[in-house]
Amino acid sequence: MISFLQCNPITRAIIISLLIAAFTGLLFLLIIRWTSKRRPCSCLIPALLMLTVGIIWGTLMDAQNNFDLSFIGEWLGNLPWLVYVLVFLVSVIYCGFGSWRERIIAKREITLDSIREALDNLPRGLCFSDEKGIPLLINRKMYQLAEEATGKLCRNAEEMWREILELEGQKCIEPLYKGNISAFRWTDGNIWQFSRTELTLQNQRYIQTTATDITRLYTLTEELEKNNAALDKQYKRLKNLLNEIVQITQEEAILASKVKIHKELGECLLAARRYLILKQPEKGIFELFQQWQEVIRFMESTLKEEKKTSDYAMRELIEAAEALGCTIIFEGSTQEDAGHYPILKNAIREAMTNAIRHAGANELTVHMDIEDNTLYAVMKDNGNRLITSISEGSGLSTLRSRIEQAGGNMEIRCGGGVELHIKLPVKEVS
């Protein structure tokens, strides 16, 4: 095979250009690796290769121009031309493989751009700013929301926050307040909630502003409220119905007892008539007398006007307590109304049962006050046993759920003795 120097000038020029191309390719790879600042040693191989190709290129240029031929030039010039084509091919393959690997690594790596891209693809709006409100990172959705709400580009996060919150007069969004949710309805019907949190990173404070799409949550909340209202109505109707039924049953029972009196009185009269006039005694005088007594007693009790049940209920409880050796003392401004609250009666009963059983008490003080349509009641016993904690059994938890259903709340305080604090809305129970 002919050597490089024996080739014609055109072939030589082509070989030289191939070497220049290989040199450029290696230089390119070196620059990529250097700028990615990843592994300094990964720059070493392309650098060495580039140096070699450069030296070969320079020496061959010297050799073909018949300048001062050093022994390296002479030796390189006499190598077969195919060697240089191979050098070129090796360099090109190395460069191609190297840059392909670089691209793959770059794809896998998290860069600022990839963070931005990820944030832009988030369905929620996000903005990071420093303490003065200078935005550091805003995603696409936040830009869009801020522009729709304020009509201009977001330049300052503080300003944006203020403008969105004070936007009551704005046409494009409408503020909504439901329970503890404060949100805005956008013109497209979606509902956005804005929130801010403070972050500290390396002793530096940053503010994160988030906009969340709560359309579904909001509609569900609305639906729930509607359902609750409907349930409430249903419950009240049921309660009324139940009361009516009880009344009807009682009326029927009263009627039945009237019929019974009528019948028994009739019997008595008949028996008395037989005894006195017809002289055909069916029963002895003593028996007849007893029958009359019974009928009269029954009549008397039926005719007696029954006391108001609400007073009676509380009186019965006090009596039952006394039978157990426990006195209930009422205090406070509204003590005489105690009987009007069936739930309070239940609470007193529960407190008393526990006080007698666990604390050995013989006195229960019930303090009642009504303020702003709310009944405040505190139950305290004089038990002598130290109780520091209490586990809520079925009685107390049933009581708690009844109170909470009526819209009130219950609290148990332990510290020496046990105190039961109850709050009840007045209109619900009276």
Binding site: Y235, S257, A320
Partner: protein, 220 residues
């Protein structure tokens, strides 16, 4: 001497029971009260052997629930549930609560004293069935179990669709059951029929739920 506690908020019923108990030398009355919740307090005293307990007492206190609580803490006390309401679930609920006996005030075939004697002798006396009442053209015994379930939900104020969801059956089945009920009773609309059912105390709205499975969700 057996010591008896009477719980009933209807005065006449109370007095009928008092007279009955006083007639017998075997029994003495500890106390007569109107509120089922207070029965527990008298039991704490340890002076009660037998309770005659009404179901629906003062302020809507449920006698069967009170009985269950007493049975849990004082299992030796015997309890007879007395009621005038032919509500179909009461007998089952009383059995679940562990009550010894059950007596219908108006229609009881045996008189109260016999039931008390048998109960104290260790027997459990329950009526064979809920008193049969007439609703429209039908007798209360003519309804099937499933029809009663559907009926109870409707009496409790549910819509037909909710009833289907609660019972876990199809909406069409609810309609079929309802239609069959209407055919049996001869009513033309469900609402008239339901009004009749609650008026006759066959089922009391909101007092009990249909299936014992959803006991944990408090309704009241």
């Amino acid at each position: 001497m057996t010591r008896v506690l009477i719980v009933d908020d209807q005065r006449t019923a109370r007095e009928v029971m008092e007279i009955a108990v006083k007639q017998s030398k075997k029994y003495s009355i500890v106390k007569t009260i109107m509120d089922a919740g207070n029965a527990y307090l008298y039991c704490m005293n340890g002076r009660v052997d037998l309770i005659l307990m009404d179901v629906y007492t003062l302020d809507g206190e449920n006698g069967i629930e009170a009985a269950a609580k007493i049975k849990r803490d004082f299992p030796h006390i015997k309890i007879i549930i007395v009621t005038s309401m032919p509500e179909e679930s009461f007998i089952r609920k009383a059995q679940e609560a562990g009550c010894e006996s059950f007596w219908y005030k108006d229609v009881g075939e045996e008189d109260l004293l016999t039931v008390m004697d048998r109960t104290m002798a260790g027997e459990s006396v329950y009526p064979d069935e809920v008193p049969v009442i007439k609703i429209g053209l039908a007798k209360s015994t003519e309804f099937t179990k499933r029809e009663l379930d559907v009926l109870r939900e409707l009496v409790n104020g549910r819509s037909q669709k909710d009833t289907a969801d609660i019972l876990g059956i199809k909406y069409d089945s609810v309609r079929t059951h309802l239609k069959s009920i209407l055919v049996k009773t001869g009513y033309d609309t469900p609402s008239r029929f339901i009004a009749e059912v609650s008026h006759k105390n066959y089922m009391i709205p909101g007092f009990y739920k249909s299936s014992p499975e959803d006991e944990d969700t408090e309704e009241e």
